[in-house]
């Protein structure tokens, strides 16, 4: 059995989640419900759930405020929110699981399936720290991103990423320091995320940080010369788009 607590200020929303869990995730047992940050803090400490389904906006604070109150977040949490706004971008960068309202039952099912037996406290901490650092200044763009390799979790400054290269269903990240890591997500996912941070897809398998581009070489082949003189192929049909993007940086 997976023990769960539902935190949402609207009773209707809590009932909905409860009903959905009963129907689609019978392995989940609901051990408590809370309608405020204060309440949730107590109930979580009291019932020690495996997972918390967490709304963001509550009358006495936010779901983030609740996470902040725990010295160590020793439970899984899945954020459930109605708004596709800046917070959602922050979740993506922080590799935090979230579900949008109205809830798609298959999203809920997938989130529950993903919960592992053991909780990696360090991983949770890194995710939450990244989330908070990205959410704290909603006006500026996220500055950090969480990257999970098969055996580790990395929090990196976005502006230290030089480029990303597609390796089938994986993405290889290259950093300013010369290091590189392989992440088990497609380049497309990072393209969507990092476009707002000055990254540009120059080729089917290449996403580069504009900041590290030195020049565009036209002859004999269209190529980007990076800051360390490495060369990145460029899709010919994207030439004009790339020039436009580079001029605008």
């Amino acid at each position: 059995m997976i023990n769960a607590v539902i935190v949402d200020d609207e009773s209707k929303a809590r009932q909905t989640i409860e009903e959905m869990l009963k129907t689609y995730c019978p392995q989940v047992s609901i051990v408590g419900q809370a309608d405020s940050v204060e309440n949730a803090f107590e109930i979580i400490n009291h019932t020690k759930p495996d997972v918390v389904f967490l709304d963001i906006r509550m009358p006495d604070g936010t779901g983030f405020d609740l996470l902040k109150r725990f010295e160590s977040v020793w439970f899984h949490f899945v954020i459930i929110t109605a708004f596709e706004d800046y917070a959602v971008a922050a979740f993506k960068y922080s590799a935090i699981d979230y579900i949008l309202k109205p809830i798609d039952p298959s999203d809920l099912y997938a989130a529950v399936e993903k919960l592992s037996r053991t909780i990696n406290l360090e991983e949770n901490k890194k995710k939450i720290d990244t989330l908070l650092s990205n959410v704290d200044n909603p006006n500026s763009k996220p500055n950090k991103i969480v990257l999970k390799t098969s055996d580790n979790i990395h929090v990196v400054d976005i502006q230290n990423i030089v480029r990303c290269e597609s390796q089938n269903n994986y993405t290889q990240f290259f950093f300013e320091s010369g290091k590189s890591i392989l992440i088990s997500k497609t380049l497309k996912e990072f393209d969507d995320m990092l476009a707002a941070s000055g990254f540009i897809r120059v080729h089917q398998s290449h996403l580069v940080n504009k900041r590290f581009v030195k020049q565009l070489k036209r002859f004999p082949q269209l190529k980007l010369i990076m800051f360390d003189d490495s060369e990145i192929p460029v899709a010919v049909r994207k030439k004009d788009y790339i020039i436009e993007q580079m001029e605008g940086r």
């Binding site: 209707k12 959905m20 405020d65 596709e84 109205p102």
Partner: protein, 313 residues
């Protein structure tokens, strides 16, 4: 505007160029005679003899010695100048039009507040999962009616007060269902207003009502009251949204306490939309926000006033 400029330019150029070509190609003095002759003929036929007869003198005296190069130079310069001006004007006009179209599109989108749409859908889903098909059906129907009205309104830049009232009624009904009768509401329209003739940009009140509920009324224990008022003042329709919530000052204080991360989305939507209406349509709409306790310490709540120039729909 630029087309007009082009026509004026070309006409001017022709005026300068043609006489000079004509006079230039017949530089000999007999040509002046030749030109003068028909004039004299005309004069003899004309009624105002004295004036026309004096014309040949005018020609003789004022013809420049070397009119050809000068005239051509002037004509060319003028022509080129005007061409450049009109091309420039045309480009600017196209840019302006594109910008305007973008603004109009954004205006349409801003009527359909995503906040509200997703809240409504979530509410409907919750009725379904709580096995309350009647409530779900009722909510869904009201939502559909509202969406239909909004889509209808979105095709025109203004909505009659009649339509606007209907839209707001559906909207308030949905919100009161969602907040489980936490508030009552009333819509008052002054009798001086021609409800089915006068119109304003649609859905301006909606984000303001959302504010009244979420930042005003949600914080009080007793039942809330939201009053929407339409009144006439000169060339403006005054649209008021009044609530008996905690008041904007207190609400801002609470927001700040929470770290002001959630500044009101609705106010942003409204100011953004007012800005766009001004840019795209030249609409000057004034927004005033009053904390009622500042006016009278016995009162509580927020009053938002919009002064909107009305148009006839």
């Amino acid at each position: 505007m630029s087309t007009k400029r082009l026509i004026i330019g070309l006409t001017l150029t022709l005026f300068v160029a043609i006489p000079s070509f004509v006079s230039g190609s017949n530089m000999a003095s007999d040509s002046i005679q030749h030109q003068a002759a028909p004039c004299s003929e005309l004069a003899s036929r004309g009624k105002n003899e004295a004036w026309i007869v004096s014309r040949p003198d005018f020609f003789v005296i004022h013809i420049p010695k070397k009119p050809l190069p000068v005239a051509i130079a002037i004509a060319t310069t003028l022509f080129l100048g005007i061409l450049v001006l009109s091309v420039y004007g045309r480009t600017k006009q196209i840019k302006y039009k594109t910008r305007n179209m973008e603004l109009e599109q954004q205006l349409l989108i801003s009527q359909m507040n995503p906040h509200f749409v997703f809240n409504s859908l979530t509410a409907i889903q919750s009725y379904i999962f709580r096995k309350d098909p009647h409530q779900a059906g009722k909510y869904l129907a009201s939502f559909a009616k509202l969406v239909r009205l909004i889509l209808e309104n979105s095709r025109s830049e203004i909505a009659t007060i009649d339509k606007e009232v209907k839209t707001l009624e559906y909207y308030l009904e949905l919100q009161s269902m969602r907040f489980e009768d936490k508030f009552d509401y009333e819509i008052v329209v002054d009798s001086e207003i021609f409800r089915d003739e006068m119109g304003i940009p649609p859905m301006l009140a909606q984000p303001l009502i959302e504010n009244a509920i979420e930042h005003g009324i949600s914080h009080i224990q007793e039942k809330g009251l939201i009053t929407i008022r339409f009144s006439l003042q000169g060339k403006n329709i005054i649209l008021e949204v009044e609530d008996n919530g905690i008041g904007i000052n207190e609400s801002i204080r609470i927001q700040k306490e929470k770290g002001k991360k959630y500044q009101s989305l609705a106010t942003n939507i409204t100011t953004e939309r007012l800005k766009k209406l001004r840019q795209a349509k030249g609409y000057k709409i004034d927004l005033t926000i009053i904390d009622k306790s500042e006016r009278n310490s016995n009162e509580r709540g927020t009053l938002v006033k919009l002064a909107i120039p009305y148009k006839y729909a």
